[in-house]
Symmetry: C2
Subunit: 358 residues, 2 copies
Amino acid sequence: MRHVTQRRKRVTQAEVARLAGVSQAMVSLVLNDSDGVRVAPETRQRVVEALRQTGYTVDIMGRRLRGKSNQIIGVFTYEAVFPSGSADFYGPFLGGIEEEAEAQGFDLLLFTSPGRRQGRRKVYEQGSNRLGIADGCILLGRHTDRAELDRLVDERFPFVFIGRRESSAGPVSYVGGDYAAATAALYERVWALDHRRVALVGYHEESESTADRRSGYLRACKRHRKTPLALNDADPSAVFERLRAEEVTAALVETTEMAAALRALATGSGLRVPEDLSVGVLGDTDPTQTSAWPLRPASDTDWTTFRIPRRDMGARAVRILVGMLRGEMEPGRKTQVLLPCELVDGTTVTEAPRAPRR
Amino acid sequence: MRHVTQRRKRVTQAEVARLAGVSQAMVSLVLNDSDGVRVAPETRQRVVEALRQTGYTVDIMGRRLRGKSNQIIGVFTYEAVFPSGSADFYGPFLGGIEEEAEAQGFDLLLFTSPGRRQGRRKVYEQGSNRLGIADGCILLGRHTDRAELDRLVDERFPFVFIGRRESSAGPVSYVGGDYAAATAALYERVWALDHRRVALVGYHEESESTADRRSGYLRACKRHRKTPLALNDADPSAVFERLRAEEVTAALVETTEMAAALRALATGSGLRVPEDLSVGVLGDTDPTQTSAWPLRPASDTDWTTFRIPRRDMGARAVRILVGMLRGEMEPGRKTQVLLPCELVDGTTVTEAPRAPRR
DNA sequence: CTGAAAGCGCTTACAG
DNA sequence: CTGAAAGCGCTTACAG
């Protein structure tokens, strides 16, 4: 019986081999059983017996070291993946990532370690790329560090971003939502309901996803020969005043939060949503986002919006990354995918009011 | 500059050494920086520079094979961590794990890899303990594979279970909820409301957490000299009939699902909850659990229940594990913690009815 | 202070 | 069919 005080030593192939009276390599051969019949039956039998007796289990470290791939996909986020209070933003992404990683035979390494700097994690700590311990990495989250992104591209580290990203250092592989198309589609929806003054309200902070929504909006405006009215969320009441002044009847708003705040302001001024003001949300709720708008969205509202296929995005990103790792792609080629976002009809968009508001 | 046309190979210490004009061992020495000053300053400088240029990152398999820690905590679950449909059971646990891992400077390795057997993951795949890649591991989830647990204990692999667990192979480190105490407290609550016939309804499938609730219930019964009535969820209508036959006025029910089903049956028989039948739930909702009971809980009910401190449990488990890894505990010693569960007064428990029901 | 070597456990050509 | 050897990337005594 082993001593309880000691860490147990594992049985190695060498010990099994000794017991079976064969070479260590023979044990490995039997274990991996590659071509089936290259081992003599009685030898195999002896080895199998020795394996059973010793309770041998393969050491995955040795195997993976030999195999030159650790079978580990990194997952990097600039914020905590599992926030305490609010609902679950990363959940669906990670669900897709997990599912596909499992299917592809990879483990998932979440980079949570060396604390944050100014409340945000870093890819490069002390000059070294932390992600390098994984074979490749999925990055996600609204916030991006441009310098780090550039450097990652420059280093040719294999990674895929969830969400469209641009880098001055070269093309980036990503899987995003097609916000431009979805925004344009939402515009068409309100247009079909006779809205002729449609405004856009987006983040004041610039990012690819905000830019994509704007470009979809601008495209739709152009198509209908309307002058765009694109506002940002820096000052809620100013936005609302502007909407009234311009006699806007439908607002396309980047987040549920902003939409809720807008509705509150409208209600406060005696306007009804959607009878007097239709409100479309440019993507379903992302509860962890912060903004200049004070109100939390009422969770019981069926917003008219579009659905961001988060789970699919996660799975797709893993598939692309694994393809890169397997060398199935021409090296240097980047895969850039935008997945369609399905329109969701809610209760916050209706026909344009007949008479002008006042 | 590397060639774009090639699959990116990891940079090894040997390559760094070549660049710096030193031996590979020297690179390792600089990296591990053990005693501080054993490397000549200018040599160290050259190595550091070469490390920077090459973007070297250590290979965790090599390191681990050599027996060193990688500052990685494994997280193992028998089911997918991020299920698609249902709400989030693991979320709060993982939140605590992530938070504490971050504080302690560890990354998190989710074992998702080599697929499942019969829909459930395995610790040992082809005889190999997959967890060994990590320095130690947190295990969680309602389901447990006894054979695997025994073997883990036997191997002396450092791990902490979330949820109390017993193994015939020896003591297990765990952080659980104190369901026995919380169940007894809930019993006291209904007792104080003049209920004198209080039944327990739990899973038919035996597990530590089910057993703990029962033992809390039995303890309370004994204290008040009442004959216990402990039923299981195998047949919902049979349970309900039994409750009526025994003139039970308060049922303590293991899950929200069972409670909802029970209420539905009660309503169908013209009984009101809580006026005719008080229902307490032994722990707040765990939406991924399946049971023999058909109904999904109505999410708008304020059940009288107790709160399982999931986030704290996760954080605490990590702290214990890190303690083990740092060798701060006598080896072989196991830490077993049960955290208190706070009572939550809802709307499903009220005073016992005056007249006997009929 | 530094290099050469051993060895962690494994797989896979390569000789016999 | 089988054994001996090389080597995956790393750390750590051990000589110099």
